[in-house]
């Protein structure tokens, strides 16, 4: 069942001439893990903000078309209701710290306090969420004393703890090291397997290829390709826009020019596919 429905969606920020999003049609099913890719300025963040309700409730401007999440139209709702269904974490972790809490534990509980969760349940939910994202040892630290990557985990945990139906993430791993990134992708995949719908804008293509159910490529505010990671990430359209190409795909593409990749074999997008393909070539020779 579609939990997010966008129909003929176009949006223009105030005081701008061009559309940030043009004619977007998209249905996202419950429990799906969607990755949004595309170069800077392609409209990934705008699409995230729209699904999360900040367009049009926070950023005004011109929004046309239909935006529905969990059967509710964005125009029939307000932000404080909307955020109960849709959680948003974005890129800059420093500004996602509420600023009014003195420890990480309190910081994560901030959202639960705002929606009136009883104290005992709040403690349990915060502890579970911290366990899930592996930040239990940070509980008593000040959120400001953490590194960028740690702050990003705190920001993600602060949203996960609210248990939204749809989780929107705008480059949530931008300041993380490779291991941190992998851990976060695993957590997000687990949440999606448990039924949470995930929409994630991300530049780290190799991880997207490995974990996402569907990839949507945006360019100049429009959807230019969508489908399985395999279909989208090997599409020649991505070569034209120069973004969203996995290094495994690029390597195999060059290899195929030197007859080091089987012509009939699809290009790989993950390390596992690349390994299998190259081993095949080696064994045949």
């Amino acid at each position: 069942m579609a939990i997010v429905e966008l129909e003929n969606l176009s949006y223009q920020y105030p005081l701008t001439e061009e559309n940030a999003l043009s004619n977007i049609n998209l249905k996202i099913n419950e429990g799906e893990f969607i990755a949004l890719i595309g170069p800077n300025g392609a409209g990934k963040s705008s699409l995230c903000y729209t699904i999360a309700g900040f367009i049009p409730h926070f950023f005004h401007g011109e929004l046309s078309g239909k935006v529905e999440v969990a059967g509710v139209n964005t125009h029939d709702s307000n932000l404080s209701e909307w955020v109960l269904n849709v959680g948003l974490a974005f890129q800059n972790p420093f500004n996602q710290i509420s600023g009014s809490k003195f420890t990480v534990f309190e910081e994560i509980a901030f959202g639960l306090e705002n929606i009136g969760i009883p104290r005992q349940e709040m403690i349990e939910r915060v502890e579970n969420a911290m366990n899930l994202t592996g930040i239990t040892d940070l509980a008593k630290r000040s959120p400001y004393s953490l590194s960028g990557g740690q702050q990003q985990r705190v920001a993600l945990t602060s949203i996960l703890v609210m248990q939204p139906k749809v989780l929107v993430l705008d480059e949530p791993t931008s300041q993380m090291d490779p291991i941190g990134t992998r851990d976060v992708f695993k957590v997000i995949k687990t949440m999606s397997n448990q039924g949470m719908t995930v929409i994630m804008a991300e530049h780290k293509i190799e991880w997207v290829a490995q974990f996402a159910d569907r990839v949507i490529a945006l360019y100049q505010g429009e959807i230019i390709a969508q489908g399985t990671p395999q279909d989208v990430l090997t599409s020649p359209k991505l070569l034209e826009i120069g973004a969203g190409i996995s290094r495994y795909t690029s390597t195999a593409r060059i290899a195929s020019q030197h007859n080091l990749w089987f012509k009939d074999k699809p290009l790989p997008v993950t390390i596992v596919e690349a390994e299998a393909g190259f081993l095949g070539v080696i064994y045949e020779n």
Partner: protein, 259 residues
């Protein structure tokens, strides 16, 4: 560098365990007594026989006396001198500096003003040393203070040190591009200007993002907020607060009736 501007010291004491609102009520009662009861020695008695012993009970005496000494003595000294010198009064001459007459009355007046201010500020310092700001704000929010106001207060305590760190980063960045930031006063003043733009505009951008972040966590939700912090409020303290309120009302009443 300190991460926040709080005075709070985490100690295990009876004062720490008292409900924040009770402590706040006591602070206001002491201030009203010190300012409105016409007995000359009362502010000094309150300071020495109530506030200082309480700082020992709260196990924060060293820091308390330090803070009072450093923050308050210069201010009180200044007030004392100004009042003594310029409080216009006819009275018994104590001594004369140049053409200014120092009278017994003006010294008395200066003493009474200074001790009143001492009670006011030191009782607040004691409150802040023994009460975590989150605890105080959670309790006040629970009693009906707007959540936005408590957010503004607690976030200010943290954001100011963060802005200082940011300012230092900007200065370092400018310096690495060859800007002079040391030298005589004019050079240093000139170095402040390029700092203002990035700091102010950067902060405005930060405000927008922070607004999104706290909205995403249902900050403006109309639902009744709860608190992670458990705040004790035993019956006895409720009665004590009513008693303190009564004292305040009587003091104010007598003062109004007398005038």
């Amino acid at each position: 560098m300190r991460e926040n501007l709080t005075f709070y010291l985490d100690r295990d004491s009876a004062i720490h365990k008292i409900n924040p609102f009770t402590k706040l009520t006591l602070v206001f009662t002491l201030i009203i007594l010190a300012f409105l009861v016409p007995y000359f020695w009362l502010p000094s008695i309150i300071f020495f026989l109530v506030i200082i012993p309480l700082s020992f009970t709260g196990k924060v005496q060293t820091e308390f006396i330090n803070a009072v000494g450093r923050l308050l003595l210069p201010v009180i000294g200044f007030i004392f001198v100004m009042q003594a010198l310029f409080y216009p009064t006819e009275g018994r001459l104590l001594f004369q500096i140049w053409f200014i007459d120092i009278t017994v009355e003006s010294v008395k007046y200066a003493f009474s003003t200074s001790t009143r201010i001492l009670v006011m500020v030191s009782s607040f310092i004691l409150l802040l040393l023994t009460t975590h700001p989150s605890q105080l704000m959670s309790d006040l929010t629970r009693r009906g203070m707007p959540g936005t106001l408590s957010y503004v207060i607690t976030s200010t305590l943290q954001i100011i040190p963060q802005m200082r760190i940011k300012a230092n980063t900007i200065i370092d960045a400018q310096r690495s591009r060859g800007m002079e930031t040391s030298g005589n006063i004019f050079k240093r003043a000139g170095a402040v200007l390029p700092l203002v733009g990035p700091l102010v505009f950067g902060s405005i951008v930060d405000v927008e993002e922070r607004a999104i972040a706290i909205e995403a966590r249902a900050f403006t939700s109309p639902l009744k907020k709860t608190s992670l912090r458990e705040i004790n409020d035993p019956e006895l303290e409720k009665y004590s607060r009513w008693f303190l309120l009564l004292i305040m009302i009587i003091t104010i009443g007598i003062r109004l009736w007398q005038s």
